[in-house]
Amino acid sequence: MNTAVDMSRFVRSEKIEALPPPSLTRGPLAWMRENLFSSPLNTLLTLVVAYLLYVIIPPLVEFLVINAVWTGTDRSACRAETAGHPVGACWAFVIDKINFFTYGSYPATERWRVNIFFVLLAIGVGWLLWLRAPRRDLGAIYFFWLFPVISYILLTGGNVSLGIGFWSTFAVSGALLVVALAAAAYALKTSIRSAMLIGLGIVAVIGITLGLVSINWGLEPVPTSRWGGILVTLLVATVGIVFSLPFGILLALGRRSKLPILRMASVIFIEFVRGVPLITVLIMANTMLPLFLPGDVTVDRLARPLIGVALFASAYMAEVVRGGLQAMPKGQYEGAMSLGLNYPQMMAFIILPQALRIVIPGIVNTFIGLFKDTSLVSIVGIFDLVKAIESSRIDPNWAAPTIGITGYAFAALFYFIFCFGMSRYSLGVERRLAAGQKR
């Protein structure tokens, strides 16, 4: 009796240990069951993939890491009969040639200039891409004006001789531009004063740029024929990316414009460029262009593919941006107009910020494609990373069976790191910009 009463008043003072969940609903076994073997088809697919991984991964690791050679000064290090063991990737070759892969034939004593260029590029990219960075407006000025000017002076040596004749022509055409803008403003009945200020600003920026470039900074001039390797790859990609976005936006707006000439010009440009492969543009620029130009006029051999790539990327970018513009509901345009905004204001403050956000994946996709397409310049004899590797591959000092594969593996790694980085960054930005649409 007593015990029963005691029992009824019994309260456990500490919590009883929970039983572990059944092993088939939690833990690795359950995860595998749910994710890998949830149906006969999935089981089959899992087994097939596992087999493929088994076939691919171990030999790859063996080749790239276990049997790889890391030190050595010439081919004997990477040959099975002299090294005394089976030889996989010959990283010693990449280490020996890394300066050539990075700078090409850039003079050894001047390579600090390229290093500064890399640092300036990293600063500019970081400043613009890090969303919480301070003063990103200054960052934009830096990246789109100061950085290209400094880089040009650093890499080429600056000291472009323009001559007095050029400056007087420049002054006259600058004045003409300001007058023309003022006249246009008068005809369109907008503020003449602000039009003139804009004109003066443009002339001043161009003038300062040319002035900086023509100063003798005491740097040894380095012709572009000596540039090469990663320097050229990054340069082509950067120029393509930096030019393609603004030009692409302008082309997309042009294509949707109500002005027939502007619209037709944009359509023709976009459709023409999209209709030809990049490689024909490059061959046209590097092989055919010199035949069309008069004998004493030359365009720099590196500048030609740069321009070609930039134009090509702009056309693709224009179509991506147009996709975003078309996805905007008409109400957004009407709303902006009803607020009394004019066309530039409507585009800059209402339409483009939303439209560009929609097409971020497309934009980054174009950038990634462009970054990899830069390797095509190697076909027209520009020493980018791929070409540098190809010409090092046949160096008799390093002739060994695995040299070629090692070189290409290095190129693959380089391109993968950059493209994967871009892809991850765009995912992050998308997630952040889409925060307002999450509920």
Binding site: T287, P294, P396, P401
Partner: protein
């Protein structure tokens, strides 16, 4: 309308041609004025034109440009190398983008007569050859009856091969691949008995084999590939400079003048050496160069034999025998024309 377009096109072409020939006449003057020579080079061919780990160009063709730069500027470094692919090499020369093209280009009649080019100096006599494994026990291409042969698709190599075997009434089996890399890999892996490409290429490919000493290059050369330095047609002075740069290097070898002893040789009593090094006569002036032009070449670059050994011969990894490129006195084809 169509007529108008055609006439405009013709007008443009005509004016371009006029501009082209005007600039062609004065290559030496424009090179001197620029202060450097632009030299079209290979984008990478072992022994002939290849940037090293520091990015400096080396090779037999590169040495030729250096010799020209030495003759003109007394400095072998006043050159800009423009790497050119096989496709754009001749247009780059025609358009004036490069002053001279030293890029292992085979002279053929059509190239010489139809492209508006001249080939004043053949600096390497190449030709198609065969490589086989030693253990095959073959010492001549004539013994290759019934062999399987690895070659690159769609090249003249494949056609030469067919001609050679048909002419000698032998059977063979072609194993063709798209790239030279694949072709050699297949040979190295034992897919075929013999590998064929230009002889100079055989030596550099052999280095890449998994066991280079197992392979030999057969002595037969089955095609003619005279690799020459090219210039634009019409500027004869410039062509002369190219021709005599090559001959000076050959003469120097024949006379025993080397990079090391050239200063000493300047005091030689041999009239041929005196004329070559410019201590007698005024041979340089006639081509717009100073009279010690050949001295400068030997001093900075060396004679032909030195350049050959350093880049492709025994002094290099390639170890190509002189063969056809030996001096005429030693049974080769390199015959230096006399300076007099």
């Amino acid at each position: 309308m169509k007529k108008a377009i055609v006439s405009i096109a013709f007008g443009l072409t005509a004016s371009l041609l006029a501009a082209g020939s005007a600039s062609a006449q004065a290559t030496l003057a424009s090179v001197k004025q620029k202060g450097y020579l632009t030299c079209g080079s290979n984008t990478g061919l072992a022994g002939f034109g290849l940037p090293d780990a520091q990015g400096n160009w080396t090779g037999l063709d590169v040495d030729f440009c250096r010799a020209m730069s030495a003759a003109i500027f007394d400095d072998p470094t006043k050159i800009r190398f423009i790497p050119l692919s096989a496709k754009d090499r001749f247009t780059a020369l025609q358009s004036g983008e490069v002053d001279v093209l030293a890029r292992n280009s085979t002279v053929t009649m059509s190239r010489d007569t139809q492209l508006g080019l001249d080939f004043p100096a053949i600096n390497y006599f190449d030709g198609q050859g065969f490589m086989v494994r030693k253990k095959l026990g073959v010492s001549s291409a004539k013994e290759l009856n019934g062999a399987s042969i690895c070659t690159q698709q769609g090249t003249t190599t494949e056609l030469n091969l067919a001609d050679y075997f048909r002419a000698n009434n032998m059977k063979y089996e072609v194993v063709a691949f798209a790239t030279s890399d694949e072709t050699f890999k297949a040979y190295d892996a034992g897919r075929c008995d013999a590998f064929t490409t230009d002889a100079s290429g055989l030596y550099s490919e052999r280095l890449r084999a998994s066991n280079p000493d197992d392979h030999i290059v057969l002595p037969e050369i089955i095609s003619k590939e005279p690799l020459a330095v090219a210039v634009r047609h019409g500027d004869n002075q410039w062509g002369d400079i190219v021709r005599w740069t090559h001959n000076a290097m050959l003469d120097a070898e024949e006379l025993g003048v080397t990079k090391a002893n050239v200063d000493q040789m300047k005091g030689s009593d041999n009239p041929e050496i005196k004329r070559l090094l410019g201590t007698e006569g005024k041979f340089g002036e006639a081509v717009g160069l100073p009279n010690d032009w050949a001295y400068r070449i030997i001093k900075h670059v060396g004679n032909y034999g030195e350049s050959f050994e350093r880049n492709v011969g025994e002094g290099s990894k390639l170890k190509i025998k002189r063969g056809l490129n030996a001096q005429w006195t030693k049974g080769g084809l390199q015959y230096g024309l006399p300076v007099r």
